[in-house]
Symmetry: C2
Subunit: 493 residues, 2 copies
């Protein structure tokens, strides 16, 4: 009986909390069943249920709340933030173990940061970058590692120009209608690079850039998806790979998860954690959304899960066939984000900015990821694409050893001797993300189901950075998608 | 109270039924909760739970039962058979609206048919086939439509020889270790055909064959997956596309679903319908499998859902990262199977066998699918790949009109005037299949996660035709996979 009493209390608490942001609480049928029977929990009424408490979901809820409508965000995890997540470095400092950067042109996230009163700071770039290629280490500045000849540089620049020219042909709202849509969606990015006839050296540099953006191999995605991505990022591949002037320009004081944490705080009890949505049932003009033993009844639902995870929700009636098929065709990339913590950012003393590009993994890309005041020192090492897949089943200590070996190769023995802590997150192992940075379309997926990516299925609307049309795959795209979905829903309420 | 009483009855019935094929019934904790609390249902103990009552699951259960172990098959639908399904034509005759053919070399399904005392009959092939190309209709015999010149025929034969030569290099148990695995998994099948430099005519014929096998476009799959498929089918692409001598040689008397129906009948109450498995929890040397409000406790579990549907089950602990990622990379093909029923197979009177290949859709492939005695007459029309995707959202009557227009084009006005009934199934719209014929690997999927396709995750084993090594994608592959998984499990019990 004690257990029953406790559950009763927690249920009341949850209801009391939800009431703050919920239009009304409707009692659902309570059957007069015996002790052996399950009783339906109370059904809570809201205008909109948002599935997922990442940047897309919270942005959507914020917009809905602002319009005076009631909303609840149901988040599967015990935290908000989705693919952004802070880890504590010490009592005051955090480091990001998920998405972290913002840059020029990412108006949706930059505006949100302003709205929330958050601040940004520059990614540390003072000094030289390192290039590790063919077994030797060299220093450089700028975006392209030091190549062996001007001819190779020209190859790379020509390829970038060709990529950007193709991106200019792709309408971000309807990439399936690009003039060469079918042609570009019929080949892998690997084939595109083959056809450019690049030298091994030029190709290696370009592939490094591609894998750093998608966390997949060039064989895993179509040319059309790639140039769509460039188009969504302002039409220049450099925007995706640049630090200063690009998508890695700035970080958020307090860590990128602070955006979600602050939105969630403002939304208060309208954000429900530990509520993995298992079923969404449309009937008689309303939608019942079930998470655990609780049910919410809404007029409209926004699902922010990436396509690859939508299959985990049972829809009744089932989703349209094209939607069910599209969702099978946007697999998540593979990245293990590693953070090696040091007493101080010792590399800065040698005039290094902590950035490395390398032809030898598993860590082929590093950044200085220290807090704003440079204490403690943090080296961020990315393990991406096949390098990450090859280490998915490895132990954390085996991965730590592999990472440390790379860092010593780039920054010397201090990278091992001065390390005080190792933090990592393998996003593919997280069942609520199943990969990062985002969903990636293999050949055929975009042209097969025109328009489906954002097409509401009855009262169910779609958000999440995989549905963005600006900075898709990024935090900014997540926010843009959430605001777009909220506008769709508000127009129908 | 009446409702409660009824539920009590149905629960007892289910338990009583299960006991016939279940080792023991263990009472789970029943809390002393009030009427407002859910009570855990009794937990039923078995050696093995099989998730899915298609050919793979039933074959696995049959093997486990034969070894003297207890087993239950949990099937989400209200029927067994998975991607095989019979539709009634009249009181005595059925027609297949799912997978239907068997052919030489498919030993697993042929042996099963023998074991079960079922019979096969020849696909109707007497007479001429039709080819509709460039707006004109012509008759032909054999497997390759009448091409305009010997040169085109040579192109096609050379391509087939090249495909078969490549298939010979692929070890079916470990295609990721094929000598050219990465190279062939880096390009689409479309790119492979591009590189062959075929004439439009030759390419058109080959693409027809490809789409008829996979129900996807050549851009949707990798060369490696394609040649693996050929390798699993005995190493000759002709085996896949042939009627006589190939995978479409024979049908099963009573329809292909009869195989599953008969297996299920023998398994009796060990097969539970309407039991969509939602969670699989491993703890303390046992696995709890939950479907609806019922829970089974097993030593081992065999999951037969295709990879694209595994995400619909919540695993605790979560599946290994590589498994979760692989399952995102095997989307299902797209096919709408249509059956136009006639008072008689009128085309036979004109010396036609009912087979058509066409360059103009949506129906580009037809067969005579009449019952063994030829009454009623049935024309089977396949809508596959992009043709199917383009019609996923169309109404049944719009699709019927489109199909009839094709059949009239091939068989004359009688195809419309003598039609008595139209039957169809869009497999992509079925939430328990989400596509057919099977899962198809886009570039990168096979080499990214070597071995994962069949690697048990703790006590969870994998079956389903997508995990077969012989005749993968076919009924025979499903059975082979179920028997292989059963052997794995039995070795561990």
């Amino acid at each position: 009986m004690a257990a029953t009493g406790e559950r009763g209390v927690s249920r009341r608490t949850a209801l009391g909390g939800a009431a703050a942001g919920v239009a009304g609480v409707a009692a659902a049928k309570i059957s007069s069943a015996s002790g052996a029977e399950l009783i339906a929990a109370k059904k809570r009424k809201v205008d909109v249920v948002v599935v997922g408490g990442g940047l897309a979901g919270l942005s959507a809820a914020r917009a809905i709340r602002k319009a005076g409508r009631s909303v609840v965000v149901l988040e599967a995890r015990d935290r908000v933030g989705g693919r952004t997540e802070n880890a504590k470095l010490n009592k005051t400092e955090v480091v990001e173990i998920g998405g972290q950067w913002v840059g020029p042109g990412q108006t949706h996230v930059l505006d949100m940061i302003d709205d929330l009163g958050l601040e940004t700071f520059d990614t540390y770039v003072d000094g030289k970058s390192l290039w590790y290629g063919n077994g030797t280490l060299s220093e450089y500045t700028g975006i392209i590692p030091p190549v062996s000849s001007g001819a190779v540089l020209v190859e790379i620049l020509n390829a970038l120009a060709d990529i950007n020219a193709k991106a200019a042909e792709v309408p971000v709202n309807e990439p399936w209608n690009a003039p060469h849509a079918t042609e570009w969606d019929s080949i892998t990015l690997s084939t595109y690079l083959d056809d450019l006839g690049l030298s091994d050296e030029a190709r290696g540099v370009i592939e490094l850039g591609i894998t750093s953006v998608f966390a997949v191999e060039p064989r895993d995605t179509s040319l059309l998806f790639f140039v769509l991505y460039v188009a969504m990022a302002g039409g220049d591949f450099n925007n995706l790979i640049n630090t200063t002037g690009g998508a890695q320009e700035k970080r958020i004081v307090g860590g990128s998860q602070a955006i979600s944490l602050k939105m969630a705080k403002q939304l208060g009890k309208s954000v429900e954690l530990n509520k993995p949505v298992r079923s969404v049932r449309t009937k008689g003009g309303r939608v019942d959304v079930k998470a655990g033993s609780a049910t919410w009844s809404a007029k409209r639902v926004i699902v922010t899960a990436p396509p690859a995870l939508v299959g985990g929700i049972q829809f009744d009636p089932p989703l349209p066939a094209a939607r069910m098929q599209y969702d099978q065709r946007v697999p998540m990339g593979t990245v293990i984000k590693t953070l090696s913590v040091y007493d101080a950012p010792f590399w800065r003393d040698s005039g290094l900015n902590g950035m490395t590009t390398s032809d030898t993994g598993p860590v082929k890309l590093t950044y200085d990821n220290s807090p704003p005041d440079g204490s403690p020192g943090v080296l961020l090492g990315f393990i991406e694409g096949q390098d990450a897949r090859d280490l998915l089943a490895a132990s954390e200590s085996a991965r730590r050893d592999a990472v440390t070996e790379c860092l010593v190769r780039y920054f010397g023995s201090e990278a091992e001797t001065r390390m005080t802590r190792y933090i990592e997150k393998s996003w593919a192992a997280d069942p609520w993300s199943r990969g990062c940075y985002g969903g990636v379309c293999p050949p055929g997926a975009i042209v097969a189901y025109p328009g489906i990516v954002r097409k509401p299925a009855g009262r169910i609307h779609w958000a999440g950075t995989e549905t963005a049309t600006e900075w898709g795959g990024y935090m900014s795209g997540a926010i843009q998608s959430g605001q777009r979905a909220a506008a769709e829903v508000l127009a129908k309420l």
